[in-house]
């Protein structure tokens, strides 16, 4: 792995069974991602963006090839090891927020820390810091049902960032948001990327997201068709 490389993907193939045949979602994909990148996987539906995110996040495993995240080969991790990797080092942001409905904003954000053996005071400080980053300190007692879509996604960002992960994987994070909220959220994430040097990887086909990316990897039929560095992205 190169110095600064946080994710290394080599000849990755991912196939899913469809009836008696197999569908190839990722077809021999090779890619390196550096620490602190704010990059996006772009492409049409079915191009393999989400599948790649899931494998990087150790929610799925490669059929062939290797994926190394933080020096750990995804294929060789046990259930426990992959859970630990996700809990300590990877944050997830989903299109549909995936907040836990019976928990308050505070508890949703705190949840990610409960598995780490932190003191209650350390947890509280981390949660309040995270909510401050996303500007939701006044909503700590609200439940997700009482929040707008933009607020829910900000809670999801706070939840993913509260443990200060090395990598945040965001799957279509703005798909359910209006333009104003999308920009607000992207600005928040960009700010956290700069301040905490967290690597953000997006799966998107939203133009608004693309404006903020420093690197854009275009996928088509499970293969990389373009990998471009963007110098003049939005801050």
């Amino acid at each position: 792995m190169k110095n600064g490389t946080i994710i290394s993907i080599d000849k990755l193939i991912k196939q899913f069974p469809v009836g008696k045949s197999k569908f190839t979602a990722l077809n021999g994909l090779t890619l390196n991602i550096e620490r602190g990148e704010f990059m996006g996987l772009v492409g049409p539906s079915g191009s393999g963006k989400t599948t790649l995110l899931n494998i990087i996040g150790s929610l799925d495993t490669p059929s062939m090839g290797t994926v190394t995240v933080l020096d750990q080969s995804i294929s060789s991790l046990s259930h426990k090891q992959s859970s630990r990797l996700r809990n300590r080092h990877i944050g997830f942001i989903f299109q549909t927020y995936n907040l836990l409905p019976v928990y308050t904003v505070y508890e949703n954000v705190e949840f990610a820390l409960l598995l780490q053996k932190l003191s209650a005071s350390a947890r509280k400080k981390a949660v309040m810091d995270a909510l401050e980053w996303v500007g939701l300190t006044d909503k700590i007692k609200s439940k997700p049902a009482m929040l707008s879509g933009g607020e829910c996604q900000r809670v999801a960002i706070a939840r993913s960032m509260v443990k200060r992960p090395d990598i945040v994987l965001a799957d279509e994070p703005t798909a359910n948001l209006d333009s104003k909220n999308s920009h607000h959220i992207l600005q928040t994430m960009k700010k956290l990327n700069k301040e905490l040097n967290t690597t953000f990887i997006f799966a998107t086909h939203d133009e608004k997201v693309m404006q903020y990316l420093n690197r854009k990897v275009s996928l088509e039929d499970g293969q990389i068709v373009k990998d471009e560095v963007i110098e003049n992205s939005k801050n």
Partner: protein, 390 residues
């Protein structure tokens, strides 16, 4: 601890669905305790009454006597030694002489057991002191059930015919001095009590007895020529009948418990089906599948904790009230089952009964919660996150 906290949080967050399940399970919990408490209370009352009216602290039987075999009665009698008579005079032993006879109430014949009892005895609650001592008239006391079946009442005269020890038939009229009320059928049904001295004279068995009932003050020891039967032996039949009642009742309790458990099972299946995204999110946040299975199992199992709390909230006052006031059973007119049944039964809730019931409810609720939760361990997190049917 974390799983338990999450489980309770999720459970309470589910609102009405949770409380309906909890209510159903709490009914089962309270009913199991109530029914078993009722049976235990009945058991204790039956044993207490049988001991007070019939068996005392145990009995010394003539070696030939077998209460299940009426043919043994004829030979089962022996004179009482000086030592025994001393105990009788001290009211620590109550001698009983037993004989078979035929009674003719209002001209019809019925088989009865004549029991000679010391009018001065203080070992049994039998109102033997109601047997007047008279040279001219012989008296008898009978139970209410015997009086009803023979159509007799106090003051009536009853013709008795019996065979003495030489095999000679004899007959005599006795006057019913008292009709007593007793919960113990074996003391009442077909039994006629007369003074033991009268019966000894009638049977030509002077100073003889068939069995000796030991009182509380009797210093337990062996009596030569008599076999001691403790209450475990004497009450074995009663215990067997009560146990069979318990088994019968457990079918009803089991059914009620199963209905409540099916509701929890159903809720769990539905919950896992509907909350796949949540399951995927837990896994994405770093919980292992085993931990998620644990959360869902505990969530279902926690129904039982809430059911116990809810059941305690309305069950404790209710059960205590029943325990204090008892449950009226009415007078057991026909005593058909040969089980002592008091007019009022006081349920008895032992700590053992409560703990066993709590364990049954918690363990069964946890098991039925685990069965559907196992499915989570086979779920693909990526499909769960999408809410794809699995």
């Amino acid at each position: 601890m974390l799983s338990l906290k999450l489980a309770f949080k999720n459970l309470l967050g589910a609102g009405l669905r949770t409380w309906l399940n909890v209510l159903a399970l709490s009914f089962a919990f309270v009913l199991i305790i109530f029914y078993n408490g009722m049976i235990d209370g009945w058991n204790r009352q039956a044993q207490r009454d049988t001991a007070a009216w019939e068996t005392g602290e145990g009995q010394f039987w003539h070696p030939a006597y077998d209460k299940y075999d009426p043919f043994t009665i004829e030979d089962a009698h022996a004179p009482m030694s000086e030592d025994i008579l001393k105990e009788v005079n001290n009211h620590t032993l109550a001698p009983v002489l037993v004989s078979q006879a035929t009674a003719y109430p209002h001209g019809r014949a019925i088989g009865v057991t004549l029991r000679g009892i010391d009018p001065n005895q203080e070992v049994l609650e039998l109102p033997s002191s109601k047997l007047p001592q008279s040279n001219r008239t012989d008296y008898a006391i009978i139970g209410k059930n015997m009086a009803r079946s023979a159509n007799l009442e106090a003051g009536d005269r009853l013709l008795l015919r019996w065979r003495d020890k030489n095999g000679t038939f004899d007959a005599r009229e006795v006057e019913i001095a008292e009709v007593f009320r007793c919960d113990v059928p074996t003391v009442d049904n077909g039994q006629v009590y007369i003074a033991i001295s009268t019966l000894q004279e009638m049977l030509a068995m002077e100073n003889e007895a068939t069995l000796l009932v030991a009182g509380e003050a009797f210093e337990m020891r062996e009596l030569e020529g008599w076999d001691f039967k403790d209450n475990e032996f004497l009450l074995a039949d009663l215990q067997q009948i009560i146990d069979s009642k318990k088994v019968g009742g457990s079918v009803l309790q089991g059914l009620l418990l199963i209905i409540a458990l099916i509701a929890i099972f159903d809720t769990q299946v539905l919950s896992i089906f509907r909350r796949q995204k949540e399951i995927g999110t837990y896994i994405a946040l770093g919980l292992t599948r085993a931990q998620v299975v644990g959360i869902f199992t505990l969530e279902g199992g926690a129904h039982s904790i809430l059911a116990i709390l809810l059941g305690s909230a309305y069950g404790i006052p209710l059960l205590l009230l029943l325990n204090r006031n008892g449950i009226s059973m009415g007078y057991a007119e026909d005593m058909a089952f040969d089980i002592p049944l008091a007019e009022v039964i006081f349920p008895y809730y032992s700590l053992r009964l409560i703990l066993i019931t709590v364990l049954i409810v918690v363990i069964t609720a946890t098991i039925v919660s685990y069965l559907p939760a196992r499915k989570i361990s086979k779920m693909k997190p990526t499909d769960a996150l999408k809410g794809k049917l699995q």
